[in-house]
Symmetry: C2
Subunit: 304 residues, 2 copies
Amino acid sequence: MSILVAGTVAIDNIKTPHAEANQLLGGSASYAAISASYFSRNVGLVGIVGHDFPAEHIALLEGKGISLAGLARSSGESFTWTGEYLDNMNQRVTRHVAINVLENWQPVVPEEARAAKWVVLANMSPDNQLAVLDQCSPEAFVVADTMDLWITIANERLHDVLKRIDLLVINESEAREFAGTDNLILAGERLRGKGPRYVVIKLGEHGSFLFGEDQHHFFSCAAFPLKEVNDPTGAGDTFLGGLAGHLASIEAQEPGFEELKAAVVRGTIMASFTCEAFSTRRVEALQDEEIGERLSLFRLYTSF
Amino acid sequence: MSILVAGTVAIDNIKTPHAEANQLLGGSASYAAISASYFSRNVGLVGIVGHDFPAEHIALLEGKGISLAGLARSSGESFTWTGEYLDNMNQRVTRHVAINVLENWQPVVPEEARAAKWVVLANMSPDNQLAVLDQCSPEAFVVADTMDLWITIANERLHDVLKRIDLLVINESEAREFAGTDNLILAGERLRGKGPRYVVIKLGEHGSFLFGEDQHHFFSCAAFPLKEVNDPTGAGDTFLGGLAGHLASIEAQEPGFEELKAAVVRGTIMASFTCEAFSTRRVEALQDEEIGERLSLFRLYTSF
């Protein structure tokens, strides 16, 4: 196993100002694993679904070559998220969350995945993230995401996670809250002080910041420009998967800052596809050439 | 005259969460002209001040080699702006504005400045911007800024301005409002449709977008990272002046997109200095080496 992706697998019901769709494939691990699969043939997913989980979503993940040996099947109901995007597509309102099978989930990493060189802890509770880490190689390069909920209700456990990961990916408002400052440059520095060698702050339509060990190790990455955003759900998870996928593909023993920059760019490109359609519909059906084209355009848009 | 900068010259009183200062040099033209003066020895300012305008501010502008032949001196009182920045330094509240001498001002461009190849219309009323344009060469490359107030109360005249300029510089919220869309990429395209060949949307701490004729002419420019922002007043005006100053310095007959990208980067660097201290205090005392150093760091921060 080259990349292990652990996180949620969900059924999403999403409404935007222009459309609505239900029973969609969702969850942090779904997006991240699909995104990583474009860069590595060896991606495994750790998660849980219920008896009601649509077979077509399972087939889709398997069709991308993702190992589902770590996907637990429960007799309960699947984790379900129902949300709506308001006029400004950046504003998301959660209408309903049914934790269901996630409630008592104890993640189990399959034997063959325990030596994975790259571990992606997609958004899930810090307890679950720590449980996964306990089963993985201490040599793994660990990339982790989180969300505002865990900063509030599981702050101490989240700090435990931070001490054991290499790269934290977090969004802008969470970074400000977690670091206790409105200045994002200072926030990046403070978050690094909590443990991870690298920190990425995601800025939505404005791209992301990557922080390394000192002021010479900073990268301001643009977003890929989109004239139409149809559903940003999962963009951050897709970013995470693309980032880890690129690191796995270059097989750096210990990635340096230049490799991380390149990985952030790949994550950015992958996230842009996710925003273009509901769920994983756009990102699940990509040709490698489309990724390459967007990467060339991205270079054009950001070089001077 | 190589660069003509027309706009406001003000007395600013500014309060931030950490400090307060009064009787400061302010105004769109002051910042823009000082910024441009680092790139061109031939900068002229068109504006107006009252009898109460501090002599030290005049001396400062003259000390930067800026021609004040176009600076009208009135017996009235100077335009004065009193504002405060709240916890998040991005939030600015105007406490008091005294228009004073600006009220009946009819800008007069001195004879020797009428053939200026580069015209900077810093923020002032669209009527005043048009009055300046009427006195300038139709061959000039014209860069203009505006603000939310004019979008609201002088929308038609602002549209007249847009038909006669080459590059519009506008901030994020103004762009959304003026273009009638939350999508900034679409906003840039729509603003270009109103006349200017080029549009820059300023994103504050997130940099700026430069739009040209088609999807291959787009540039996402980062901001220079600052761990401490002490007073962002005038950052946009400084950006404008640095941008125009760079264009003047390379003496391109007709700047192309690559030249505009490079100009946006210079504007960005200059704006970062302005944010570091009250008023023009940091940007007025720069060494060329400091600009060069920041430019090198900026390349490092944005290349991959």
